[in-house]
């Protein structure tokens, strides 16, 4: 089990290196002078920056400087926000995005498993139809539309109630997080519902469930230990990429709900061509995702013995 985890972590480091390199080379293809922007820069400052990042050196040297800095955890200083280290920016804004993302994933996973199991149990009866209809809506309406519409709905609800039932934008309390997290997790929840449904249906008609019934076990036990436990496997497998999708898709929700998360800052950095922030955020996100995927894989090893004993 631990060998498995160790191997995965090693792979993870390699992957992060690849991501960092890809980011580096992509950014170096951006046309224009990285230091050229609105602020006037004294020659001394400019020279310092050039020295620090080796901007006057050949590409390979710059690459090595970049990797060396990365290994030390130094992501550099923002080009547009003076004297702000990228690390600080991340430190300040990432927790917001992380909380939003975690809430969204919890919402998506819990909902997806619940609805999926329900549709399989009540197959072809009205709960099945109702849930599947909502699921189909969930996978086809774009998230930004849902975000905008839900804001509109919130405004109306608040107006009707005469008071602020739920805040329409901003960040701070749990109430602020609820609706954005739900909006963010909606698409993934729909997807997980379908996955859980087909998995459950397949398991319900499988041979070992037939054996469990032949043993005369109580239905609750058959459901819990035989059906549910095996049906969840594909859903957990998919959780890794699902986390990736949610974290990177978060910035639209952050934009619409005015949440000060890392995604929003990333978009702003892109619009302002703040190179260090762009690169640093990308590598950070990449590393984070790789880490999450490993966590999920290890978790999967706990549930499915076939994986860890190979």
């Amino acid at each position: 089990m631990w060998l498995y985890t160790f191997k995965r972590m090693l792979q993870g480091v390699l992957t992060v290196w690849f991501i960092a390199s890809a980011t580096f080379f992509a950014m170096h293809n951006v046309p224009g002078d990285p230091l050229l922007n609105d602020r006037a820069m004294t020659p001394a400052v400019r020279a310092n920056l050039e020295a620090k990042y080796g901007l006057d050196q050949p590409l390979s040297t710059q690459y090595f400087i970049y990797l060396r800095n990365l290994a030390r955890g130094d992501l550099g200083i923002s080009f547009t926000q003076e004297n702000r280290e990228v690390n600080d920016i991340i430190r300040e804004h990432f927790p917001v995005s992380a909380i939003l993302g975690i809430l969204a994933i919890l919402f998506a996973a819990a909902g997806g498993i619940l609805w999926g199991a329900l549709t399989a149990i009540f197959r072809n009866r009205w709960p099945d139809y109702a849930i599947m209809f909502l699921v189909i809506l969930g996978i086809s309406v774009p998230s930004f539309v849902v975000a905008a519409l839900s804001q509109l709905a919130l405004v109306n609800i608040n107006a009707l109630a005469g008071t602020t039932v739920l805040p329409v934008a901003g960040w701070g309390t749990l109430l602020h997080m609820l609706v954005p997290a739900m909006v963010l997790g909606l698409g993934t929840m729909a997807y997980l519902t379908r996955l859980m449904r087909s998995s459950m249906l397949e398991i319900i008609s499988s041979d070992f469930v037939r054996t469990a019934k032949a043993k005369g076990l109580p239905p609750a036990r058959i459901f819990a230990k035989h059906q549910f436990r095996n049906a969840i496997l594909p859903v957990v497998t998919v959780l890794g990429p699902a986390i990736a999708a949610i974290t990177t898709g978060g910035f639209v929700v952050e934009l619409v709900f005015a949440i000060p998360g890392l995604g929003r800052f990333f978009v702003e950095a892109v619009q302002q061509l703040d190179y260090t922030v762009i690169m640093g955020t990308t590598v950070f996100y990449g590393a984070f995702l790789v880490f999450m995927v490993i966590v999920v894989d290890v978790l999967y090893g706990f549930i499915d013995p076939r994986v860890r004993l190979e």
Binding site: D207, R210, T211, G216, L217, R221, H226, I303, D304, R306
Partner: protein, 352 residues
């Protein structure tokens, strides 16, 4: 085909049968229409004896036993008639008799493919312990220890270590042994084995069948063995029921079926069996054609189109069960008094 040491002729009944199935009929609603899978089946199972149900794929053997166990999902499936009585008490549609549950406790069942018939995420020991916990109220510890003993009984080496392993760590033969251990955990009076050896090698086959036999001797349970392999029948069965197109076409002792076949289909099955006798040099004779479409079953005998001795009446009406001896019947018009054709290969009453 193994030779039996002594011939066995069944006595007329001295004790009531353990299980009596009468006129069982099962239908299924499918998107293509209604399939009449079982069309009126009668058989009995004696205490401590083995009944083999033989037939081609699709003849209804599995559906018959599964409907007795309540394993057929009843929305698409439907029992349209018949009864199944265990020790005189009706079993169809009920979950328990006199406090003892039918599934798992009174009747145990093992299935064809052990690789897919066990939960991949639970240890073998846990899965064997489950029925003991559920039906006997054992604590987990007690049940698990009993599971180890059962694995031992099923001749699995290192039972204690094996009980903690998962199905994917077992071979096919060992898994089937584990399944057997699981099925007999609560000491059922009947064990149903649905093609238990079809997915296994021949050598493992023999071991499993021997195990079943030994267990039967020790526990005195009856066995219903479903198979399409006449070799297995010869080795294991006391009585045999031959099924075709949803009906039992011949029923008798194992000797009756092999030496005194009274139905053309039974003859066809025997002729299609390969033999290891080097002196015999004839070709395998398969039965031409395929079983009838059970969406629209024929009004007459299902075997008619493939039968070399078919008569006019066979096409339009199905025969009754004609008794040649007390426990040997054949469902064939050839045994009617008015039938003049009496093919040599078939056994008739008052022949020899």
């Amino acid at each position: 085909m193994t030779q039996l040491a002594t011939e066995t002729v069944l006595d007329p009944q001295t004790s009531p049968p353990l299980l009596e199935v009468e006129n069982l009929a099962v239908e299924f609603d499918t998107y293509g229409g209604t399939v009449q899978a079982v069309r009126g089946v009668n058989f009995t199972v004696e205490q401590g004896k083995t009944l083999a149900i033989v037939g081609e794929s699709g003849c209804g053997k599995s559906v018959t036993v599964q409907s007795m166990m309540g394993l057929i999902p009843m929305p698409p499936g439907r029992i349209t008639s018949g009864s199944a009585r265990l020790r005189g008490i009706e079993v169809l549609g009920r979950n328990a008799i006199a406090g003892k549950e039918i599934r798992g406790a009174e009747i145990g069942m093992i299935f064809q493919d052990p690789m897919t018939s066990l939960n991949p995420t639970m240890t073998i020991g846990d899965q064997i312990a489950e029925p003991l916990q559920g039906h006997r109220g054992y604590s987990y510890r007690r049940a698990f220890n009993a599971a180890i003993e059962l694995l031992d009984l099923s001749k699995i080496p290192e039972a204690a270590r094996r009980a903690r392993q998962y199905p994917f760590e077992f071979s096919g033969g060992m898994l089937q042994r584990a399944m057997i251990a699981m099925a007999i955990a609560c000491k059922p009076s009947i064990l149903i084995a649905d093609e238990p050896t079809t997915a296994l090698d021949v050598t493992i086959q023999a071991q499993i069948l021997d195990l079943l036999r030994d267990l039967q001797t020790e526990t005195g349970m009856a066995i219903i063995l479903i198979t399409h392999d006449l070799g297995v029948v010869a080795r294991m069965a006391n009585e045999v029921a031959v099924m075709y197109a949803g009906k039992i076409v011949e029923h008798g002792s194992v000797d009756d079926i092999f030496y005194r076949s009274a139905h053309p289909y039974t003859l066809g099955l025997r002729a299609a069996m390969p033999t290891n006798d080097p002196s015999l040099k004839h070709e395998l004779t398969p039965i031409e054609g395929s079983p009838p479409d059970l969406f629209a079953p024929p009004p007459g005998c299902g075997y008619c189109p493939r039968c070399p001795h078919a008569m006019q009446v066979c096409d339009s009406r199905d025969a009754d069960d004609y008794y040649l001896e007390a426990r040997h019947f054949s469902r064939c018009w050839l045994h009617h008094d008015a039938a003049s054709l009496k093919p040599d290969e078939l056994y008739f009453r008052n022949s020899d």
